[in-house]
C-alpha cells in the first residue's frame, strides 16, 4: 500500500528562483514543476474529487501567474506559505459554494475503500467514512488537518498559511482531532 503521508518539502537554494519568477517565465516554470504535485495532492485531500482538484489546482496556478509580480516574499519559504494560502482559500471557497459536494464526495471515494489494514480501534474505517467525518469540520479546520497530516507541515508553517500563531494551531488541532474522533465514533456507531 502506498502511504498517503508525505514529508515536508525540504528544499533549499530555491530562494533565487522565487525572486526570478517575478519577471522570468523560465523561473516561474521551474517553480511550477516543483509545486504542481504537492498542490494537486493538497487539493485532492481537501476536495475529495480529482476533477475538481485539478480545476482548483488550475485556478491556483493561474492566480500565481497573474499576481506573482506583486508577491512580496523573497524566499522559497515565503512562496510556499503564499501558494498554500491561495490553495487553502480557493479550496475553502469552493467547498462553501459547492452544493453538490456531498454527491461528488460519495462518487469520488466510493471505489476507494480501505484495505482493512488500519490499526485498531479503527479497523473498519475507510476513506468515505473519514471524509464524511472531516466534512463535519469547519473548512478552516479541514485546512489545518490537511496541511498537518497530508502535507506533513509543522505548526510554524501552518500558522504562516492560515495567519495564526503556532500555539493557536497546536491547540486548535488538538480540539479538531477530538471533534473528529467523536464524529468518527458516531459514524461507526460507537459510544463516546
Amino acid at each position: 500500500m502506498v502511504g498517503i503521508m508525505t514529508k515536508p518539502l525540504e528544499r533549499t537554494g530555491y530562494d533565487d528562483l522565487v525572486v526570478q519568477a517575478k519577471s522570468q517565465a523560465a523561473a516561474l516554470g521551474r517553480l511550477y514543476e516543483l509545486y504542481y504535485e504537492p498542490i494537486l495532492r493538497f487539493c485532492i485531500h481537501r476536495l475529495f474529487n480529482r476533477a475538481l482538484a485539478e480545476d482548483v489546482t488550475s485556478s491556483i496556478f493561474l492566480t500565481v501567474a497573474r499576481t506573482i509580480r506583486r508577491f512580496d516574499g523573497r524566499t522559497e519559504r515565503d512562496f510556499r506559505a503564499w501558494i498554500y494560502t491561495i490553495a487553502a482559500n480557493q479550496a475553502n471557497a469552493h467547498i462553501r459554494k459547492s452544493t453538490r459536494r456531498r454527491r461528488l464526495l460519495q462518487a469520488a471515494v466510493a471505489p476507494q475503500a480501505a484495505d482493512g489494514s488500519a490499526p485498531a480501534p479503527w479497523r473498519s474505517l475507510d476513506w468515505p467514512t473519514l471524509y464524511e467525518a472531516i466534512r463535519g469540520l469547519k473548512p478552516e479546520h479541514q485546512t489545518i488537518l490537511t496541511l498537518r497530516f497530508f502535507e506533513g507541515m509543522d505548526y510554524d508553517e501552518i500558522a504562516a498559511i492560515v495567519n495564526a500563531r503556532p500555539g493557536t494551531i497546536r491547540v486548535t488541532l488538538h480540539r479538531v482531532l477530538r471533534r473528529l474522533q467523536r464524529l468518527l465514533q458516531e459514524d461507526l456507531g460507537g459510544d463516546e
Binding site: A25, F61, R66
Partner: protein
C-alpha cells in the same frame, strides 16, 4: 506531537487515495500558466517599489517605463509558443468540426429556442424556431433564402441577404470570434477540465470585447465553450453579455451534436406541402411601386 496526533497519523497512514498527477493536466496547466503570466506582463502597468522614490524624476520615469516595456516585450517574445497553444487548440476544434457532414445546434435565449442544421458540404443552413418558422439559407448551388411564415402559411423564396453571415460556416462564429480577438490580444482565455453526465470536457472561457451583435449596454462578453478532449469537437457553450458592473444583461446557451444526416429541404422540417409559394427571385428589378414619381407642381 501528542498521542492524539500520533494516533491519527497512524490512522491515515493505513488508508490510501490516488493522488498521482495526470501528465496531460500537468502539461496543459503549465502552458496556461505561462500564457497567463505573459498576458499579465503584457498589460503590466506596475512600477517596481524600488523605483517609487525616483518617480518624481522624469528621466527616471522614462527609464523605468522603458525597462518595463523591454521586459514585457522580452517575456512576450519568449512565451510566444505557449500563447498560441489555446489558439492552436481552437483551430483544431474548427478543423474537427469541418470534417463532420452535419452540425446540429440548439440555442436558447431566455424563452426563445432556435434549432439549426448546418450542412457543411452543401453550404446550407436550416433554422427552426419554437413558433414554427422555418428558414433555409442556401449559400451553395441555389444561392437563395427560403422563409416559411407559420401565421401567413407562406413560403417566400428570395435572394440571400446582403448583410449578416448566414452560410453554414456561421457555426464557427464563436470560435472565429475568440481567435480574432485573441490575435489582437483583446481576449483572455482560460481552459480547464470538467465533466458532465460522465463525459470529460475541456472548457475554454474567453472574456472579450463586445462585438457588433452584443447587447448595446454590454461592456464585456464571456464565451464559454466545451469541447470533447478526445475528438476535439465543440459540444456546448454559452455567451454572457456583461454590463459595466459585471451583471449579466443577456445569456444564451447552445448545445451541439453531429448527426449523420439532416433535413433535405424545408418540407422535412414541418412546412406543409400545400404551402403557397411566393417567389421573389422572379420579380423584375424596378417594379412600378419602385419608380419615383414627380412631386405635384400645383399647376
Amino acid at each position: 506531537m501528542s498521542e492524539n496526533e500520533r494516533e491519527f497519523r497512524r490512522l491515515v497512514n493505513g488508508l490510501t487515495i490516488d493522488a498521482k498527477p495526470d501528465p496531460a493536466h500537468r502539461q496543459r496547466l503549465g502552458q496556461q500558466m505561462l500564457q497567463a503570466f505573459e498576458l499579465a506582463a503584457s498589460s503590466a502597468s506596475w512600477t517596481p517599489r524600488w523605483a517609487a522614490p525616483l518617480g518624481k524624476l522624469s528621466i527616471a520615469k522614462l527609464a523605468v517605463a522603458a525597462a518595463v516595456v523591454v521586459g514585457a516585450a522580452a517575456v512576450l517574445y519568449q512565451l510566444r509558443g505557449p500563447a498560441d497553444v489555446v489558439a492552436a487548440d481552437l483551430v483544431k476544434t474548427r478543423q474537427a468540426m469541418q470534417k463532420m457532414g452535419w452540425v446540429h445546434v440548439v440555442t436558447t435565449r431566455g424563452q426563445e429556442v432556435e434549432t439549426r442544421w448546418h450542412n457543411l458540404a452543401a453550404n446550407r443552413v436550416f433554422l427552426t424556431t419554437a413558433q414554427g418558422a422555418v428558414i433555409c439559407w442556401d449559400n451553395g448551388s441555389a444561392q437563395q433564402q427560403l422563409v416559411y411564415n407559420p401565421r401567413a402559411k407562406t413560403l417566400t423564396v428570395d435572394s440571400l441577404p446582403r448583410r449578416g453571415f448566414s452560410g453554414s460556416g456561421s457555426v464557427f462564429t464563436v470560435l472565429n470570434s475568440i481567435l480574432a480577438q485573441r490575435q489582437q490580444n483583446a481576449a483572455t482565455v482560460e481552459t480547464y477540465s470538467d465533466a458532465s453526465q460522465g463525459r470529460k470536457l475541456r472548457v475554454f472561457k474567453a472574456e472579450m470585447k463586445p462585438t457588433g451583435d452584443a447587447e448595446p449596454a454590454a461592456t464585456r462578453v464571456v464565451e464559454t465553450i466545451m469541447v470533447d478532449p478526445e475528438t476535439g469537437l465543440l459540444l456546448a457553450g454559452s455567451t454572457d453579455h456583461l454590463g459595466s458592473g459585471g451583471e449579466v444583461l443577456a445569456r444564451e446557451t447552445f448545445e451541439v451534436d453531429y448527426p449523420r444526416t439532416g433535413p433535405a429541404g424545408v418540407y422535412d422540417l414541418g412546412v406543409p406541402a400545400a404551402t403557397r409559394i411566393i417567389d421573389r427571385t422572379q420579380q423584375p428589378i424596378g417594379t412600378p411601386t419602385d419608380i419615383p414619381t414627380p412631386a405635384p407642381t400645383g399647376e
